[in-house]
């Protein structure tokens, strides 16, 4: 098992891998600029037809619930806001590398959907950002899979065989978990804290200091998406819900059923998007 420091150094240089697409590398270079504006992102995306097409398809899907048709990149980015736009573009780029992680896309979309609905229920601002945080919450699994594909496949097989949580097997195999890896890589890639913290602490929400409300929602959404059976997180079990999150969200039985009902409908409505990933 490699020392944690070695893994961290290797993961922080993930974008140097030859398997990382050129488009993603250019996107990350753009994110590196602290003065990056929505106009800059619009210009960048417009020059890449595949990325532009994926963004418009996602924004016009029921996932975001924008009334009317979104026809331009600028309009799409204005509706999303800078944080959600960066996260969604990253998601579109990175999930293309996740072929072989069966069910992860459906699980990630499901968690994003539940997060957005729960954020609205909790009257938390910017529900689109919570959708993106939910969508990206397991991105660390993709990072590990891209860097160590054979080891990660073995870790998945071991989790199945031993009926273990994938995070536990990741710790045994890599001396780090998908949440730690995501924290290192996304910090290196200059993602906003409002996305990084919920992703980094979605299994340990009490450790989130600056984004406690957002992290609580992503934690709960992961648990509920697993309970409902949206896709696969890499193991077969629902992780335990944090008691403080349960108390904080204070959802009644009716609230949870309403979230499930709306989530099911959205998952049904975006079936074609899920199948094309």
């Amino acid at each position: 098992m490699p020392p944690e420091g070695t893994i961290r150094r290797e993961m922080e240089h993930l974008q140097g891998l030859p398997t990382i697409p050129v488009m993603l590398k250019k996107l990350l270079e753009a994110f590196n600029d602290p003065r990056l504006s929505l106009n800059d992102i619009a210009g960048f995306v417009s020059n890449d037809p595949a990325l532009a097409g994926s963004l418009l398809k996602a924004v016009n899907s029921p996932l975001f619930g924008f009334v009317g048709r979104v026809t331009s990149i600028t309009q799409a980015l204005l509706l999303l806001g800078l944080n959600a736009a960066k996260g969604l573009l990253l998601g579109v780029a990175v999930f293309g590398l996740a072929k072989g992680l069966e069910g992860l896309w459906a699980h990630s979309v499901g968690t994003g959907i539940v997060a957005r609905i729960t954020a609205r229920q909790q009257a938390l601002g910017e529900p689109e950002e919570l959708f993106v945080a939910g969508l990206l919450h397991d991105i660390g699994k993709i990072f590990l899979y891209v860097k160590f594909p054979d080891d990660y496949r073995r870790a998945l097989a071991l989790a199945r065989a031993e009926k273990a949580f994938i995070g536990h097997v990741e710790k045994q195999t890599f001396n780090s978990t998908h949440t730690e890896v995501a924290g290192w890589v996304l910090t290196r890639w200059h993602l906003p804290l409002r996305l990084i913290e919920p992703i980094r602490y979605h299994h340990q929400p009490s450790l989130s200091q600056k984004m406690a409300a957002e992290t609580a929602i992503v934690h709960f959404s992961d648990v509920l998406a697993r309970a409902r059976g949206f896709g696969s997180g890499g193991d077969a079990f629902v992780p335990p819900v944090d008691e403080r999150v349960w108390a904080r969200l204070n959802l009644s039985k009716g609230d949870i059923k309403a979230i499930l009902c709306e989530s099911d409908k959205l998952m049904q409505d975006t079936e074609s998007l899920l199948n094309n990933a």
Partner: protein, 98 residues
């Protein structure tokens, strides 16, 4: 009350909830029976799925409940997890009832 993608909907199915467009306008009331013509018009209005009246598929419900039980195997005894499992199980039953 099952949700059905309009591409899989069939003439003769009855709506259990109104079909509403993205602006909140009711296009078809609950109780309306779908025809081929109505399905086409709903698709043109960007409706992708509808709630229809169905008969309970006990085998399907049991399959889903068994899968739910298996998913909670490791954490059922943790705080609130038995309650969460019960809520999801009730939801599954209600979802697939008439």
């Amino acid at each position: 009350m099952p949700i059905v993608s309009l591409e899989k909907a069939e003439a003769g199915m009855t709506l259990s909830k109104p079909a509403v467009n993205e602006f909140g306008v009711v296009l078809l009331d609950a109780g309306a029976k779908l025809t081929g013509h109505l399905i086409t018009r709903l698709l043109r209005a960007n409706i992708s799925s509808v709630y229809v009246v169905g008969t309970p598929d006990r085998a399907k419900i049991q399959e889903l409940l068994t899968q739910l039980q298996e998913r909670f195997e490791k954490t059922r005894n943790e705080p609130y997890m038995a309650l969460l499992e019960k809520i999801v199980a009730e939801y599954i039953e209600e979802c697939h009832a008439t």
